[in-house]
Symmetry: C2
Subunit: 400 residues, 2 copies
């Protein structure tokens, strides 16, 4: 006997979807295709031994951590996170840190805390697709405010904040933005928090890449400018995504409901892993690891950008990010990068089309190139293939 699931499913299920609309497994990729789709540390930089050793030590030191406890997270890790954030200029008490299953769960918990049907949510355009994936099932109106070279455009942001009903949150990746690579300038950081305070709009600052700068550290996080900012961090990019260890910093008023929501969601995060990661990130090894990662990513970014200049020339433009994982390439002319993707895949190269990063998935002439997971040879060959494919496709597309 069958149950009529269509009758019993909640309406929000219609908005459930995978993080990207593109099903990359369905692209016609020949063997050896070079994927610029990654947004993770490279395999050769995963500190597997270091974390594994720390985990074994934690396991032997405290096997009772296999029990229930510490819904808010292991105190030693919360202290280590608060310390690192203070070094970046944000005064954070460890009691304001909630350990989460990666940054993704932090976004999910914030949405539970704030969103109701009909609410307005402001994001950057483009923005991280995983945040859209969380917000959409809440039946909210998501509005994207454009970015320029110095981050979100202030007068457009104020327009969005001013309108009634006031937005329930502004979700932003101000530092080495995903996907655009831009960083909100220090002056604009002040201005953004002043706008948010004036109009009473909570800021959700997602900061996966802030520690991964190339030449110089970025300005302090928005949380350093305003204690009401909800700050989301993660070890997915600095250590490994598979750890699923992130955190949320919130004002004291919100900690009790957030901890209750975390308990209802999954009771607690892995306590032994938290102990292992606390040991790792407070060791001198971690600073050396970050230094090496920064240099490596800077080099890969430069290499790809140089190759693209050569291959694409006048067909595209981009700006060099100061850190992070992505080059955001915008093709000249009226073209949708999503429609070009299958042809590029046939030519042995893929990317994430820009449309994935907008709430309405509107056509976009941009594409996101993730360079951290590719070795130097792959970057050069990938740029060559991409240049050749795009040059051909864009020439075909234009009237002769």
């Amino acid at each position: 006997m069958r149950l009529e699931w269509e009758r019993v499913l909640a309406k929000r299920v219609a908005a459930f979807r995978a993080c990207t609309r593109t099903d990359f497994s369905q692209l016609p990729c020949p063997p050896g295709t070079i994927h610029f789709t990654g947004g993770a540390p490279p395999v050769e930089c995963l500190p597997a031994e270091t974390i594994s050793d720390a985990l074994v030590r934690a396991w032997h030191a405290e096997p009772t951590a296999l029990w229930y406890d510490e819904t808010d997270g292991y105190e030693g890790l919360r202290v280590a996170i608060a310390d690192r954030m203070r070094q970046r200029g944000a005064r954070v008490d460890p009691g304001q840190v909630l350990i989460t299953q990666g940054a993704q769960q932090a976004i999910d918990l914030v949405a539970r805390l704030l969103l109701e049907p009909g609410d307005r949510v402001v994001v950057e355009g483009p923005t991280y697709f995983g945040a859209l994936q969380v917000f959409e099932p809440y039946d909210v109106a998501i509005e994207a405010v454009p970015l320029d070279e110095a981050g979100v455009v202030l007068d457009r942001l104020e327009d969005a904040f001013r309108r009634e009903p006031r937005p329930k949150l502004f979700y932003t990746v101000p530092t080495f933005q995903n996907p655009a690579g831009v960083t909100l300038s220090a002056e604009r950081r002040s201005a953004v928090v002043q706008l948010a305070a004036r109009y009473g709009v909570p800021i959700v600052e997602d900061d996966p890449y802030g520690e991964l700068w190339y030449e110089a550290p970025p300005p302090p996080p928005l949380r350093a400018y305003w204690e009401e900012v909800l700050f989301i961090g993660t070890f997915s990019k600095t250590l490994a995504p598979g750890l699923r260890l992130g955190w949320l910093v919130a004002p004291p008023r919100l900690m009790k409901p957030l901890i209750d929501a975390k308990e209802a969601a999954d009771i607690q995060s892995d306590r032994l892993l938290q102990r292992a990661v606390a040991a790792v990130v407070t060791s001198p090894w971690y600073e050396a690891h970050l230094r090496a990662a920064r240099a490596e990513y800077a080099e890969r970014c430069r290499l790809l950008a140089d190759a693209l200049s050569h291959e694409l020339g006048e067909l595209a433009r981009w700006s060099l990010p100061g850190g992070g994982f992505f080059l955001w390439v915008t093709l000249t002319g009226e073209v949708d990068a999503a429609t070009l993707l299958p042809r590029c895949a046939e030519a042995g190269v893929t990317y994430v089309p820009g449309s994935e990063f907008y709430p309405e998935h509107r056509p976009s002439p941009s594409l996101r190139l993730g360079f951290t997971t590719l070795g130097r040879d792959e970057l050069l060959r990938g740029a060559e293939r991409l240049g050749r494919a795009l040059r051909r496709l864009l020439t075909e597309a234009r009237p002769t």
Copy 2:
């Protein structure tokens, strides 16, 4: 500048709460208090070495599992789970298994899938408090159907199913129920799924204890009677709660939205731990571990029950569970176990009051005694203290 959080918080936040209303840390417990509050394997039965060794092996075999992938879970673990469920009589395809952060996340994902404001939810009275904690913020009407010695009372269940609007789900712990310890008989299992099919009510079967029987295995899970049943399992009770590894078995129609919801919630569960646990639960060690655990829990249960018979006599009644972690003790007379708890705590013994297990937290003369975390001496001393304290309190409470 402060933000007016009361103005921006979602209405559902008013229903966020910790899993129990009792704040056990605030009870006036003297040193050496014996806590019957636990619902976990005992420290001495945590297979820390076994899991740690398996984890190190998994780590060395496949460090790339530290990357993003497998939102639905590691195939090897899903196959192992499907195999075990087939041994219990439920034909499950590994493609119908979603790995979750413990059973708690499975309950949370099911709620996201099904619940909308104003919906009706049917539970057992008493029921697991962590399920109530998930359902309440959805602004639903939660109705408890009573249990007797053979599980949920059928005519009361049919009354609840029949009324319009039809319930969105029936959440049940049919086997070694938490907290009542009762097991739904085989006959009633048939009847329950027939009722659910007739009235179109999804069944959510939570089964944390099904493998932990004392003398004989329980009847097959409800999922064995009906393929539309949503089945929730966990390794929290058979291995260790700190692993946060559970699973959800769902009909094929629901797998895509559930996997999307899991991705939005936290992207994936720990992939290395899934590999380690897959190796552990398919090894002969696991069967031996379960055999030893069953014998140990059976012995602790018997010991506590015998001691309580001696100490409480006519003051209380309970029935012996066939497995699981709990003895559900009901005091005679009109008394609320919650109001007696602080006085028992003063006397050096605690329990979870029955009111915690009802949707409306109504006064209850019952109390849940968890015996698995206590050694034999503690069980005897705890029973003695509890008997003495309750005898005094109940005598005081009655008119002379």
